[in-house]
């Protein structure tokens, strides 16, 4: 029976060649897409190191001389006091749990500043992000320390201007050492070698965004200097868990009455869900495009198999009838057709794996863990794409196979 199947596949090599070519092409492209999605999903599911649920960004504005309420001739100190006062009023608002200021600091922020963190001869990577924040900032986004420090404890540490925090992985890639072991040691920051700062705690890795890997996200958190308490700072708030409903509308409604401080006013309030969606739009778009591409390929496999096997069933009517009259069951006929499709897929998969492997080695696919190839990842992605195509083959063959099963032996053999 099996030998006969192979002989049959060989005899129909011409039309099978088309199928195998198509399966090969689709296998490779589909693997590429599956690999991309596999990588993105793995990265997405890594711990983020921050929490934006219930968080909002409050944008501040300052009155100009065109406004009747404008207070002229303010000193810089007075301007800073206005910002601090607004922050403090928000901190005391009943539905707000924490409020903090930052400079290029909030998550999903396209604006970054860099910093160097130097201990002895150890130096942080070039793209270490500097987050200058007011102490409560870490409470807003729920940063946590590697030794179990709570956001509240971290906030307490940031009250000292010579303390700083840094994510655990700063020296990991280059020197293989975790920052946890260097807590309470003295560091040089910002390229300044005249004074040292104390690493108060090592942070659980704070990722740059949902699609940025933890190992490649570096950051340090330091107290924001007095002079930076300004309009340009980012004012972030976390509201209490049950207070999300209409928070933006409520805050805006109160803004004129309660939160106009000197020349400073609340210009706009945005939720971090919104900011995140905006920040990740291009990744979301890419993901969706790949998803459509995948659908297109699978549908084509389905249609191709459906068409080809439809013809075959028509051609092999006599043969199927003969098989039936010799005791073949519906089941065995279906399995035979299916086996034919799957064998073809297996034949196409072998060169496909070879091409996939070469693509991965040429670094043309997605990056994860600093590489485009990993054994587990490769096996998984090849398997997933194989199963997806196999499913389409099953569905595609199902329809013609059912037709084949319905063949009435007597009628079909009548022609012979």
């Amino acid at each position: 029976m099996n030998k006969k199947l192979f002989t049959q596949i060989k005899n129909e090599w011409r039309s099978n060649l088309w199928l195998v070519t198509e399966l090969l092409l689709v296998s490779v492209v589909l693997w590429y897409i599956v690999d991309y999605m596999y990588v993105q999903t793995s990265i997405y599911n890594e711990p983020r190191g921050f929490d934006i649920s219930h968080c909002y960004l409050v944008q501040m504005g300052r009155l100009t001389d065109k406004s009747p309420d404008f207070i002229p001739n303010q000193t810089d100190e007075e301007k800073r006091q206005d910002v601090k006062e607004l922050l403090s009023r928000l901190q005391h608002r009943p539905d707000i749990e924490a409020a903090g200021l930052g400079q290029n600091s909030y998550p999903y922020n396209g604006s970054n500043s860099g910093a160097s963190v130097v201990y002895d001869t150890l130096r942080s990577p070039g793209w270490t992000i500097r987050r200058l924040v007011s102490p409560d900032f870490v409470r807003v986004f729920r940063y946590r320390g590697t030794r179990g420090e709570t956001p509240e404890q971290l906030a307490e540490m940031l009250k000292h201007p010579k303390n700083f925090l840094a994510s655990d992985n700063l020296y990991k890639r280059r020197y293989g050492c975790d920052l946890t072991s260097l807590v309470d040691k003295q560091f040089y920051l910002f390229g300044d070698t005249t004074s040292t700062y104390n690493l108060a705690a090592s942070l659980q890795i704070v990722r740059y965004g949902d699609y940025f890997e933890a190992w490649n996200s570096y950051c340090m958190v330091a107290p924001m200097p007095e002079g930076w308490y300004d309009l340009g700072a980012e004012l972030c708030v976390r509201v209490k868990e049950d207070q999300d409903r209409d928070f933006i509308a409520r805050l805006k409604a109160d803004s004129e009455k309660l939160y106009r401080v000197g020349n400073v006013f609340i210009a706009d309030v945005r939720s971090f869900t919104d900011i995140r969606r905006n920040f990740q739009q291009s990744q979301t778009n890419a993901w969706n495009s790949y998803l459509f591409g995948m659908g297109f390929l699978l549908l084509n496999i389905f249609l191709g198999l459906l068409g080809t096997f439809w013809f075959r069933t028509q051609q092999r009517r006599g043969e199927i009838a003969l098989m039936k009259s010799l005791g073949g069951t519906d089941h065995s006929i279906f399995v035979r057709q299916l086996a034919e499709g799957l064998i073809l897929l297996a034949v196409a998969t072998i060169p496909a794996i070879f091409i996939d492997w070469n693509l991965a080695n040429a670094e043309l696919n997605a990056w994860m863990d600093g590489s485009t190839f990993g054994w587990i990842r490769f096996v998984n992605t090849v398997l997933i794409s194989f199963v997806l195509i196999a499913l389409m083959i099953v569905v595609g063959i199902w329809i013609p196979a059912r037709k084949a099963m319905k063949v009435q032996p007597a009628e079909a053999l009548h022609d012979e």
Partner: protein, 444 residues
């Protein structure tokens, strides 16, 4: 041999009308006879055409002229600039928008272009009527040339003037929907609104602009000197919050403009002590502009290659399917081909027949695919047209008919159909033309 020759001539002579009609008739009959196969072929092809046309449509909407950006083809864009320490060879640099100083000295001072406009990156403002309605709107801060570079439909009033712009008078142009929302009418010229608590006079009302007009979209437009935005600058007063759009007299001036911009850049750098600004290949034409990410070198070649690869795959996969099915269908018609050959049909004639039969199928599928693609642009509007630039904006990504129904789009669709047809009919036609008569007649 003689017979063959005459038959060939005859077939060729009446080719234009009768034969083509006959081929199409026959093809149509074939389609009807094998319903499932026809359906499978048409759906597969239609899907491919649909996906390709969606890509083309999205690109078209982003690249070709549309109101108010009617001069895209002769515009150059400066989305971002970079600055680093003089002589720095590492890739460390500060990247972002430019300050007003750079915009003025390096671009506004250009003499070759027709006009240069300076536009803020845009943001939100609170707009209200004294003791009345309040709303949040997208704003742009710009100058008077903005209204020359872009062509807005003014429903009432007119743009702010050069004098307004220079002295930063509190004048504002608002969109029709904002006017209706605040005043209940578009006749708002001369009325006072409060923008972030400062009084402005409405000087013009324009038709709403789609968010797809990325360089000009806003809901209100004000002179940048009327706020303190110009004061927001850092890094030797070079970085700031502005972009520039340069309108050339014609595309041919692009090289000259780039050359002049380069001269101005060097002059500006000469005045800087330690740092220098650079543009990474900008100003960009429209295509480069949409693929420009600030802080990175432009990867236009990669973008082209990417599109090419995607379209090839989208054409190739269904073409293989179609080929295979056409071949199977031909196998069923082997005796017919045999008879035709026996009566002297040349290889050429048979080749043509297969092409025409296949063309009917691809054209039907093409029309279906085109319809699908229009449906997609409306149903998937959000996914297709939102990007991180316009995601936060409040307005709508409305599409106008003249963007979608340009003759170019139909031509493109037709070309892709032909391509697909060529790809998929090539091998079956060749096989049909080469078929041995006796084999064919014996159905071998």
């Amino acid at each position: 041999m003689m017979n063959d020759f005459f038959f060939g001539i005859k077939e060729f002579g009446s080719m234009n009308t009768n034969m083509i009609k006959l081929y199409f008739k026959q093809a149509f009959y074939q389609l009807r006879e094998n319903r499932l196969i026809s359906l499978v072929s048409i759906i597969g092809t239609a899907l491919a055409i649909c996906m390709i046309m969606v890509i083309v449509l999205v690109l078209e909407v982003r690249i070709t002229d549309c109101v108010p950006e009617v001069n895209r083809s002769r515009s150059l864009y400066m989305k971002a600039m970079s600055i680093h320490q003089k002589g720095d060879t590492s890739d460390r640099s500060s990247n972002g928008c430019m300050s007003l100083t750079v915009a003025k000295e390096c671009f506004k001072a250009l003499t070759v272009p027709e006009a240069v406009t300076i536009v803020s990156t845009g943001g939100r403002m609170r707009i209200s009527v004294p003791a009345g309605k309040m709303m949040t709107v997208d704003n742009l801060e710009t100058d008077d040339t903005f209204w020359k570079v872009f062509s807005f439909d003014f429903i009432a009033g007119k743009p702010f003037t050069a004098a307004d712009s220079e002295s930063g008078l509190p004048k504002v142009v608002i969109s029709a929907s904002v006017a209706r929302n605040l005043f209940g009418t578009v006749e708002a010229v001369g009325r006072t609104v409060q923008l972030n608590l400062a009084d402005y006079t409405v000087v013009g009302v324009v038709k709403d602009v789609s968010k797809l007009a990325v360089s000009s979209y806003a809901q209100i437009w004000i002179p940048f000197h009327s706020t303190e935005i110009a004061g927001k600058c850092w890094y030797d007063n070079a970085m700031g919050t502005f972009r520039v759009v340069i309108l050339a007299h014609s595309e041919k001036d692009f090289p000259a403009i780039r050359e002049e911009a380069e001269r101005l850049r060097q002059k500006f750098n000469d005045g800087l002590q330690d740092s220098e600004i650079f543009y990474r290949g900008q100003p960009d034409d429209r295509f480069s502009f949409i693929f420009r990410h600030w802080g990175r070198e432009l990867q236009a070649k990669e973008a082209y290659l990417h599109y090419l690869l995607v379209i090839v795959i989208l054409l190739l996969v269904p073409a293989i399917n179609l080929s295979s099915m056409t071949l199977s269908r031909m196998r069923k018609r082997m005796s017919e081909i045999g008879v035709r050959k026996a009566f002297g049909a040349t290889a050429n004639v048979l080749l043509r027949q297969v092409f025409y039969e296949n063309l009917l199928l691809t054209l039907i599928a093409g029309a279906v695919g085109m319809l699908f693609s229009y449906a997609c642009t409306f149903l998937l509007n959000d996914f297709l047209f939102s990007n991180s630039e316009n995601r936060t904006q409040i307005g709508e990504t409305s599409l106008s008919a003249d963007m979608l129904f340009s003759p170019w789009i139909f031509l493109a669709a037709f070309i892709f159909c032909l391509l697909l047809n060529l790809l998929s009919a090539c091998i079956p036609a060749w096989r049909a033309s080469r078929m041995n008569i006796t084999d064919a007649l014996n159905q071998r």
